[in-house]
Structures are given as structure tokens and as C-alpha cells.
Amino acid sequence: MSDVLTIAGKPYSSRLLVGSGKYASFAQNAEAAEASGAEIVTVAIRRVNLGQDANAPNLLDFIRPDRYTLLPNTAGCYTADDAVRTCRLARELLDGHRLVKLEVLGDPKTLYPDITATLEAAKTLVREGFEVMVYCTDDPIQCKRLEEIGCVAVMPLAAPIGSGLGIQNRYNILTIVENATVPIIVDAGVGTASDAAIAMELGCDGVLMNTAIAEAKNPVLMASAMRHAIIAGREAYLAGRMPMRRYASASSPLQGVIG
């Protein structure tokens, strides 16, 4: 069965997107990314450390641009200007690459999106030809606005970044999915495999996660668990679940019972 996720015209067979932060080593990160089956991996853009060893290992030697679609993010940006600047640097760094993950944060305690600034940055980036996947609140109205601006995917949070709390407002996610004509990808807040499966059962097109895998006791095994959860949730969504009933409904025929 062909069931691809298409983002900005490019098809992906995996609906799991993973991060590259918080791993014990580049090697562990690469092994987890492999086990997850993900085809899109996020990276951050930061100042180089001056005075470093020229032969120090580099993330991109392990998460190779010819193996994965890299998704540079604007993590750490608290203004639209900083986010736009970061995306421009990412485009230069990755040889004209246009796909970016936009996030403009409101405060360091919650890392909650600043939606006003996010909308402003999204408009600028779309105008400059970027393909914007946007991290945002689970607000159906703002998600629709971001789609209308021209974002190629809208990525509402399940819960705060790195919290592992799972989907806090599944009815909002459901409404966002129903309203959308671009992929809806739950980004942030997933803690374990069932959280990812629920997102997919709600009809989301994918899930982006970092901490849930990187901070598991066994990140590579959790990456595999997430891969299966995404597939299970997606297939359950496509299959269409049975209705819930308050009382029992016997599975075996009532006729021919002995006695």
C-alpha cells in the first residue's frame, strides 16, 4: 500500500521526523536515526567554537546530508528577525537548501511559541522562497493562518518541548487536522510510543520528536518503538476504528450455546 507523506512536493515513506539533540554521542544519534526509519532529521545552527580541534568530529559526518533530508531549525530564537537570519544562514550552510523548521519562542521556561512573531517570520521566509515547516501552538485558528501564509507543513505542539507529557489537547489537534490542507505534524511533547500512536490515530500526517528518543534509557530501542508506533497509529487511522459503546457486544454467536 502506497501511503506517502508529501512535504513541499517531496514524498517521504516515513512519517516520523527526528531531532539530533541531547544524544550521548554522534554515533548513538546516527544509530537511533537509522532505527527510527526517519528520513528527515532536524539540526540547529550555532556559532562554531573558536580554537577547536580541526579534526573534531562533525554532526554532518554522522547525519549525512546525502542520506537524510536535513531540517535546520531556528531553536533559541526569540524574535522574528533572529529566526529569519538563522534560516538565511542555514540556506547558505546547506547549499541553497530551502526547507526549514521555523520556531520563534516566547520564553525560556515554557519554550512556548510566540505566535505573533512566528506569523511575522513565516511571512518573510515564504516571501524569500523558503519552504517553512512551522512549530506553533495547538490553536486551530493560528494553525490555519500559518497555512494560509504559505507554510508547507504546520507543526502544533503536543505539550512543551522536552516535557514528554504527550498530547494535552487532542480535540484541538483533531480540529487542526480537519481544517488543514497541508501536512499537520505534531512537534514536541511526545514522551513514549503510545503518545506518537495517538497523534497518528487522530489523523496527523507525522510526528517530530527529539527528547523522547534521546533521553530514553535505550535511545536506539526507543527509536525503533517510535517507528512502529507511527506505523501502527497511521494504519489504525486509515483502517477506521470501531465505535465505542458503553455496554458489551458479544463476539461469539448467541445461538447454539449448550445447556
Binding site: 539530533s20 545552527i45 562554531v48 573558536l50 562533525n58 547558505e92
Partner: protein, 66 residues
């Protein structure tokens, strides 16, 4: 005679170009992007881009992130 590089004071390199700066910082061959006084300079122009005292330069790379 110095430059501001990633918020730090660095000596003016020889040759005084972006390429020269990358060499002087021991970053040759790494995948980088450079902003020179607020303007991004494509890699192909590093050798031709002259830096002078008090220029402000940002050099970035990709690192792990979510």
C-alpha cells in the same frame, strides 16, 4: 588591528580575507556559513572578501538540535 568573530576579539588574519580567517581559525574544510557585517557571504566569495579592522563576523555550523 582586530576583528570581532562570534563575539570574540580575534587578530586580523593574513591574508586579510574570509578565507584567510577560516584558515587562521583552523576551520578549513568544515561546512560553515559566514556573515560579514550582517551580510551572508557565499563560500565562493570568501577568498575575494577582504576583512578590515573592527569588522563583525559570525561563523556558524550545524549542530545537534530538535
Amino acid at each position: 588591528m582586530s576583528l570581532m568573530v562570534n563575539g570574540r576579539t580575534e587578530p586580523l588574519p593574513q591574508p586579510a580575507t574570509l578565507d584567510g580567517l577560516v584558515d587562521a581559525l583552523n576551520l578549513t574544510g568544515q561546512r560553515l556559513a559566514i556573515e560579514h557585517n550582517g551580510q551572508i557571504v557565499p563560500r565562493s566569495l570568501w577568498a575575494a572578501t577582504v576583512v578590515v579592522a573592527d569588522d563583525c563576523i559570525e561563523i556558524v555550523k550545524a549542530i545537534g538540535g530538535g
